[in-house]
Symmetry: C2
């Protein structure tokens, strides 16, 4: 009897799982079923080979749904107030009857178990709104893996009719460059004061930004924030012009005083309109697709060598010889490559 009951239970679970067809999930997801969207994302994040097939079918079906969404990247060092900003910004957009998805990429989550969006108290008001979908970062993934899952999740959210896709990332490591390569508009949040606060911002990130936002411009701090904004605005025009034809604005804002949150949206609207007119918007999306095709393929081809333990040893031996000046870097590369190529024949 016991066994029978267990078998029944197992069969039911199997049945339920098997009844998850790509078509039914995509149908529900397209009709605004948030649970279906969440299930689809979980399938995408899964490492089970049977889930993978289903996941691929879902992605293909979602790609067919056209949606002129806006993808916004938001980055900044820890403590800059990203979640407070997104909470205020998201609520502002939700009031405009827009549907907002917030996805997070957290390169530190492998070590800490997730520092962004892991905490349920974050974005508490925003997460309770009907038109808002918040999804934390998939943990335990390589950065390349996270990139793939995030790009695919964007497609799913778009098929589900979300208008604005916000990708949040911590301003450390390589993740901003990754996020920059998958969004239409890239915002860098910064603290006032050009001293220690800057230490965390990686070189090159400032030049990538489509908007610099000085956060926490409230109370006693607003004077500092304003003068920081002025200083950055002055510096920004020294940068080479962006290929999008866009001039990066710099402004202060306060999430807790709800100050200038509308300004962020105004700039994004202007940007979208300008880049639709000059053709950059779609050219950039094509370039991003091409970039991810090439990057993913390169990563796969290189993994054959660089993720093999056997080759790691050979490589380290050569690296030591190069560092000791026994052999040139190019000769070392040639020797490694010749042995590697022979081994594959």
């Amino acid at each position: 009897m016991e066994n029978n009951h267990l078998q029944n239970w197992i069969n039911k679970r199997k049945e339920r799982r098997n009844s998850l067809t790509a078509d039914s999930l995509v149908d529900r997801l397209r009709n605004g079923d948030r649970e279906a969207l969440a299930t689809a994302i979980t399938l995408i994040e899964s490492t089970r080979s049977e889930d993978l097939k289903l996941a691929n079918a879902i992605i293909d079906a979602c790609l067919e749904v056209k949606n002129d969404s806006i993808r916004i990247g938001i980055t900044g060092v820890p403590g800059v107030g990203k979640s407070t900003f997104i909470e205020a910004f998201g609520k502002f957009l939700a009031e405009k009857q827009l549907k907002i998805a917030v996805l997070a990429i957290d390169p530190t989550s492998q070590a800490t178990g997730g520092s962004i969006l892991g905490d349920k108290t974050r974005m508490q008001e925003l997460s309770q709104l009907k038109n808002v979908f918040i999804r934390p970062s998939a943990a335990g993934q390589t950065l390349g893996g996270v990139a793939r899952k995030t790009r695919e999740t964007i497609h799913l959210c778009e098929a589900a009719g979300y208008d604005i896709i916000i990708i949040e990332t911590v301003g450390v490591g390589q993740s901003e460059i990754m996020v920059h390569s998958m969004v239409d508009f890239f915002m860098l949040l910064m603290l006032s004061g050009a001293g220690d606060e800057l230490q965390g911002i990686k070189r090159g990130i400032m030049e990538m930004a489509d908007a610099l936002v000085i956060t926490k411009s409230d109370g006693d701090n607003s004077k500092n924030a304003l003068s920081a904004a002025k200083e950055y605005a002055g510096a920004l025009h020294l940068f080479p012009p962006k290929p999008s034809g866009w001039t990066t604005p710099c402004f202060t804002c306060s999430a807790i005083e709800n100050k200038n949150i509308d300004k962020a949206w105004e700039h994004i609207e202007k940007y979208i309109s300008k880049t639709h007119q000059n053709g950059w918007f779609s050219a950039n999306r094509s370039k991003q697709d091409q970039f991810w095709l090439q990057e993913s393929l390169k990563e796969m081809i290189l993994a054959d060598f660089f993720q093999s333990d056997a080759w790691k040893n050979e490589y380290n031996l050569m690296e030591n010889k190069v560092t000791n000046g026994e052999i040139s870097a190019f000769t070392a590369a040639e020797l490694l490559y010749t042995t590697y190529k022979k081994s594959r024949k």
Copy 2:
């Protein structure tokens, strides 16, 4: 008779070529024979397989010679006055009894037949000094090929006892990033005026610079140059600090009025002393060696796919599908990789 004479002539040429042993060339080169240095570089640039063997033996022998040279990269858009600056700067260094080698990397030389150093009237005075060796860029090479030849030429020049190796490059394309990865100190020459002149400078280059030099600060232009320098100096402190611990200076100079040429050298001396003290100098050189080992190996592995015409077609087909939104970038990469991997078995 005629034929006999011709045969003799051919035999003599062969003999002379065969008598070129790596040891004899390296010996002559180390003794300051500029002709031997030039011959060795020509061998390195050659694509004949028999020359390649000799070239590799020469490089290995040269690597054994230790020389605490200083490698300086100089870049800037066409028209900024690179050659005029190098002429003045080189003469200044030569007066200090330093031996100077000037190598050029010109990514445009493939198309135009060489726009830097191709013209013999450039650096006319400098090229006539005894302690100066000037070598134009090897033409008809890929950027990766040019990188390799240039790195190897640096080793040769160092074995030949040159104290200062200047690598000049045009501020267009990827070449500055390449040069930055092979020098100790990286200088960006700029024109005054933050308008159109900036257009040519690639994004990210300003942050790489160890010194910003506003050129042509002479006559009526010196006032503009000074105010530009002030503006850039203000902007520079907004950049994240450099891992070398160095603070990038910004100053004006005039090559034709010989103004502040000494200042460039002062900054380099300070930089060298600081980075020797904090360990960055040798850490950076090791990092550069490791970078070139990894980059070269990656390039070789990827060339199997990306330089094959057969795969180019497959790739373009997939790229079109991705751009048309028929398939995701990652699925496309996976399909290509799976077919590629099968083909190698």
